[in-house]
Amino acid sequence: MEKEKKVGTDKKTLKKRLKRYIPIYFMALPGLIYLFINNYMPLPGLVLAFKKFNAKKGIFGSDFIGFKNFKYLFATKDAFVITRNTILYNLAFIVVNTVLAVFVAIMLAEMTSKLKKTYQCLILMPFMISMVIVSYLVFGFLSSDNGFINNTFLRALGKEPIKWYMEKKYWPFILVFVNAWKVTGYNCIIYLSTILGIDRGIYESASIDGCSKWRQITKITIPLLKPTIIMMTLLAIGRIFYSDFGLFYQVPQNQGALFAVTNTIDTYVYRGLLELGNMSMSSAAGLYQSIIGFILILSANLAVKKIEPDSALF
């Protein structure tokens, strides 16, 4: 009898609560509609990876062919090349970007002069620039006819000009450099905010004890940065199957001669869909990325949650 009464009031309060929150549901509506269109409506389209796409029949009318698209994809060298490029570039980015960002953050944190803000502002600036313009900046240096490096730098050294956009051996370095140039300012802000959160008293007592700046950095700052470094690295590992499409497509100017070292899963999917009209391969590669990417993000996030619950995405 008493139980029933309780259920009754629960229903009543739920009703009351629903009524109170009606305006809130309306507020959430536009965002939910957008999520539905942009993120959820495309999901059924993933079945395309198991179909032979026929534009007339549409996604769901096209014939089902099982794993054939994947068989073809993994029979080509492409599958290996794009997976290797995507993962190796990301690993290089993680190492180079972390070292540079931590280094710059420490320098900024130790800076007592007012110029600190100016430095930070300048170093962050490349982050704001679109990849299209970055490709122009790179072109200014590397253009084989007019580029600064061929005409000023190599000429002064008495060396022959290099056709940069034709020679793939240079590109792994160029892309790692361009990426570091673009994101160091961003990453260093995150490390900087961790350093600024460290209790200054630790440094004061260390310096009273005669500890040099260098020792303070290696014995205090870096060990205290470790959790942030681990977290950032884990989250980057979670995104290791994704690449910055603009970096790999715009900066090498979509040059076929460089594909062996610039093709990543994202550029492959794009070219398959819009340049080569190879829908089957493109959708197979896309699903391959979505699923492995999902597993990686999920695992990385679980790992983060174990170490530091506050930093986890969810």
Partner: protein
């Protein structure tokens, strides 16, 4: 004390080096765009031109309205996009910050899951072109991908949860303010920093986006944003003259285009708004990155 001074000098040296590395590519674009075209052909892009020239800029703005037009598209896109993005992001974030709301968990899950798993380019492209049919329209610049993302929603939600005391909201409710009234007159004034940050993220996203135009605008070149125009020009410098006059004339005029310097002047034209706005918004940008913390 002495080692401290040495250290300061060292860190100045390092930071000057990094600042220069960040700036030098942009300075090369600037000086090159102001160099006489013949000098570029002889000596390449340079930091110290012997013969300065404004011809590239004159050429860009004389050859017609394609640059000005693209600027117009970019400005309208950025303003409309930022306003819409800020509105729907804030509203959704506020909704999922409401602790007592039934269904909050489901909505939060929908937002978080969208950050973890997505259909990728192929299904998204098919939905926008075949199902919604927005290819070659202004909507295709505005809607795909950029309007809202889970990251900004979660960033805002955690700001609402942590920085707006529940007591204030409860007090407003007890005083008879409805949810909408509370949101407008209590929540938004207290959330200015996060609103500025998300608006900034969205604004930069729209101004810098080239992908939507590249993928969805295949015919209507009059809808090209600055980024799309730049993109197209890198592949094909003739585009600049083709889009403003008719094609027969363009082929005649082609030999007269000071291509090398025009390229760099165009890049400068695309870069300029960012350089002008950046110093003023930098503060909010840094704040936003710090708020997002490791989640970025």
């Amino acid at each position: 004390m002495r080692s401290d001074k040495k250290f300061q000098i060292f860190s100045h040296a390092v930071l000057i080096l990094f600042s220069l590395l960040a700036l030098l590519p942009m300075i090369l674009i600037l000086t090159s765009s102001l160099t006489d075209n013949n000098e570029i052909i002889a000596n390449g892009y340079t930091y110290f031109p012997k013969k300065w020239s404004l011809y590239a800029y004159e050429y860009i703005f004389k050859t017609g309205n394609s640059v000005v037009h693209a600027y117009g598209i970019s400005v309208v896109l950025t303003i409309v996009g930022t306003a819409l993005a800020l509105t729907i992001t804030t509203l959704l974030a506020y909704a999922i910050s409401k602790k007592g709301m039934p269904g909050r968990g489901v909505i939060t899950f929908l937002v978080v899951f969208s950050m973890l798993f997505n259909g990728g380019l192929v299904p998204t492209y098919i939905i926008y072109t075949n199902v919604l049919g927005i290819k070659n329209s202004f909507l295709s610049l505005l809607i795909p991908g950029l309007l809202m993302n889970g990251f900004n929603v979660m960033l805002m939600k955690s700001y609402f949860v942590s920085s707006i005391p529940e007591e204030i909201l409860d007090a407003a409710y007890i005083d008879g303010a409805g949810e909408v009234r509370t949101f407008l007159s209590v929540v938004t004034p207290l959330s200015k920093p996060i609103l500025a940050t998300v608006a900034l993220f969205a604004g930069i996203g729209y101004w810098n986006d080239w992908m939507n135009g590249y993928i969805y605008i295949t015919k209507r070149t009059d809808l090209y944003s600055v980024q799309n125009l730049l993109n197209r020009m890198m592949q094909n410098i003739q585009f600049l003259s083709q889009s403003s006059s008719n094609i027969q004339n363009a082929n005649v005029g082609l030999s007269a285009i000071p291509m090398a310097s025009v390229r760099m002047a165009m890049a400068m034209v695309g870069l300029l708004p960012i350089l002008v706005v950046y110093p003023f918004v930098q503060k909010y940008f840094v704040k936003g990155i710090t708020l997002g913390g490791v989640k970025g």
